[in-house]
């Protein structure tokens, strides 16, 4: 990616990580990917009451090239799936995906031929947000959790190590044990 990826681990990298995490989390620009009913709740979240602008996120970038976060809001049909993947590919790193609503997370109530049963069949998802549709407060909660993750994301070699650690932790999770909060990182 950038210079920050090539720094050797050490004090310098840790400080850069903190600054980079803070900067990235403070102005995440969502890509407008509102599809269906959840898009209306996304639209209300940008309204004056639940104000997305307080997170610096009101500048929803229509061009995926400048977007950081893709909020897949709504049901993804078979026809829309390649478009979704293309938009995701056009986003530049670092990028995150929130699948908003049950239709994006798992196909929702539409268990049929026309809907992709979960957008994680197509793009890697960071946060799954259930709800039909989720309230704006729920969406903001998921965005705040994503901000936590972004703040704690490591760079370069530390990142590779972090990914490996998290992967192993996840593989060890049985369905009955919930992840402890300190494990809930990227």
């Amino acid at each position: 990616m950038g210079l920050e990826e090539k720094l050797p681990s050490g004090v310098l990298l840790t400080s850069v990580e903190k600054v980079a995490g803070w900067a990235r989390a403070r102005s995440v620009w969502p890509a407008t990917f509102g599809l269906a009913c959840c898009a209306i709740e996304l639209f209300q979240t940008g309204g004056p009451r639940h104000d997305l602008a307080r997170f610096g996120m009101e500048r929803a970038s229509a061009t995926p090239r400048q977007a950081d976060l893709m909020i897949v809001a709504g049901r993804v049909s078979q026809k829309m799936a390649p478009v979704l993947r293309q938009i995701y590919d056009q986003m530049s790193e670092p990028k995150w995906v929130i699948s908003m609503g049950v239709c994006a997370s798992s196909g929702g109530m539409f268990n049929n031929y026309a809907i992709v049963q979960g957008v994680d069949h197509i793009v890697p998802v960071d946060i799954y947000l259930p709800g039909c549709p989720p309230r704006p407060e729920m969406l903001m909660d998921s965005i705040l959790k994503l901000h936590d993750r972004i703040m704690n994301m490591k760079l370069g070699k530390n990142r590779d190590r972090q990914i490996t650690e998290l992967e192993e932790a996840r593989l060890g999770l049985t369905p009955l044990r919930l992840a402890a909060p300190e494990e809930a990182q990227l």
Partner: protein
């Protein structure tokens, strides 16, 4: 082409065929003649016509609508809308659910006006059942109240993005602010902000909660002021007017040919409103006007939508008066669901110490007092009611136009076929008629003035 065959206005100008095509040599102030000649020659190889894809992911297309444009400079030569990016198979899914469960599916078609979808479907089912005149009066009043409230939120959900797409973000925040208050009311009454599944065949699922009437009155006190703030900002704004007046012209003949109803038809001068001409749910007993203009353009449609919001507030006031006059007589004297034990949804929910569940009176009744009630409860919840074979088409005046539900029954507990005739599906066909020959920038207010909801278009 030799020089003798193609005269040029200015001396020294010439043209010649080369390997790259026709090359014009211009020496003097004859640029207009050149361009005119090139246009006349329809010189497509020179790259004057470009095909642009306003793809399904676009901030201004009101959802996942794809417009394939053929542009000549700024002029739209052809526009082809492509839909289907939100096709959900709602109609097919409804064939695998009971009649009551079908409400939860059809409500997600036109997701800005979910109660209207439910109402159209329920009216069709009630017509098949033959219980159209047995729906309780209170249920009809509540239906009208919610339908009009939904009309307000739906129109605002169209007007606010119109502002956003034109770059007027304050219009968006104003509209979202007022819409939020409407959604608060819907949440208070139905429990959800969207996709309510509240209107069911036979009536509505629950009565109004305590405090609902006061909350709606409070809304009616403040909402007109907020709407006026929006209007003061926008109505005479020269940029808004300039972008919307005269844009997306669709006159009455075109509306008739293209099957256009709703605000678009009323903007063409025809005062056709199903609430007045083929009333349902008791609309003939309410006093309201049908706003009409004859400007046939995007600005006229915007004016009509705002006027309809005001009329809806009027109707809501009348509903409140009627409900207040009826008092709160309780579900036995003033039911909200039909009293037919083989159709009316039995479970009345109430909030107990452990959460939402069947009300204790209902449980006592079915477990201790009446075997028939238990049987009805069991059969209605597991299997649903049976609808005699036949077909029915019920149409209502949704915010976008005529929303119809064509329901076919084969006598069973599940619909045989449900087709929702969505107004936006028809109206999107008219994009070509409205926009070809205009400018690219006029596409945005044109599509916004149709106010399509792609969930209804694609279903």
């Amino acid at each position: 082409m030799t020089q003798a065959q193609t005269p040029h206005a200015a001396a020294g100008a010439s043209d010649a065929e080369t390997t790259e095509g026709r090359v014009y040599t211009v020496s003097g102030e004859d640029w207009d003649e050149i361009v005119a000649a090139a246009n006349e020659a329809r010189d497509f190889e020179s790259g004057e016509r470009i095909v642009v894809n306003m793809g399904p992911q676009h901030p201004s297309t009101h959802g996942v609508l794809r417009l394939v444009l053929t542009l000549e400079g700024e002029t739209v030569a052809e526009v082809r809308p492509a839909i289907g990016y939100l096709h959900t198979g709602i109609e097919k899914n409804m064939e695998y659910r009971t009649w009551t469960q079908g409400v939860t599916f059809c409500t997600r078609a036109d997701y800005l006006a979910p109660l209207h979808n439910e109402a159209a479907y329920c009216l069709a089912v009630e017509r098949l059942l033959g219980i159209e005149d047995k729906i309780p009066e209170r249920a009809q009043i509540i239906r009208v109240l919610l339908l009009e409230l939904n009309r307000i939120t739906s129109h605002l959900g169209g007007i606010a993005p119109l502002g956003l797409e034109l770059g007027a973000t304050t219009m968006y925040t104003q509209g979202a602010r007022l819409r939020e208050r409407g959604l608060d009311l819907l949440e208070l009454i139905t429990g959800l902000r969207m996709n309510h599944a509240y209107i069911r065949p036979g009536g509505v699922v629950q009565d109004l909660p305590p405090g609902a009437l006061e909350a709606v009155r409070a809304f009616l006190d403040t909402a007109p002021g907020l709407l006026q703030e929006l209007r003061r900002l926008v109505d005479a704004n020269p940029i808004f007017v300039g972008r919307n007046k005269g844009v997306a012209y669709l006159d009455l003949a075109a509306c008739m040919a293209l099957g256009v109803t709703g605000p678009m038809l009323r903007a063409a001068g025809l005062p056709w409103d199903l609430r007045k001409s083929q009333p349902y749910c008791g609309y003939e007993t309410y006093e309201f006007d049908v706003p009409v203009t004859d400007s046939c353009d995007a600005y006229g449609r915007y004016e009509i939508r705002v006027a309809e919001i005001e009329q809806s507030m009027r109707i809501i006031g009348q509903c409140l008066d009627r409900l207040a006059a009826r008092g709160s007589a309780g579900p036995d004297k003033d039911p909200v669901m039909i009293r037919d034990a083989k159709i009316g949804w039995p479970a009345s929910l109430s909030l107990g110490p452990d959460g939402l569940g069947p009300s204790p009176e209902h449980i006592k009744h079915i477990m201790g007092q009446s075997m028939e009630a238990l049987i009805h409860h069991f059969k209605l919840i597991t299997e649903g009611f049976r609808v005699p074979a036949g077909q029915a088409y019920a149409a209502i005046e949704a915010p976008r136009g005529e929303l119809g539900a064509h329901v076919v029954s084969d006598g069973g507990t599940r619909p045989y076929r449900v087709h929702l005739r969505d107004p936006s599906f028809n109206h999107l066909q008219s994009v070509a008629a409205m926009c070809e020959g205009g400018q690219v920038a006029d596409l945005i207010p044109a599509v916004a003035s149709i106010d399509p909801v792609m969930g209804g278009v694609d279903r």
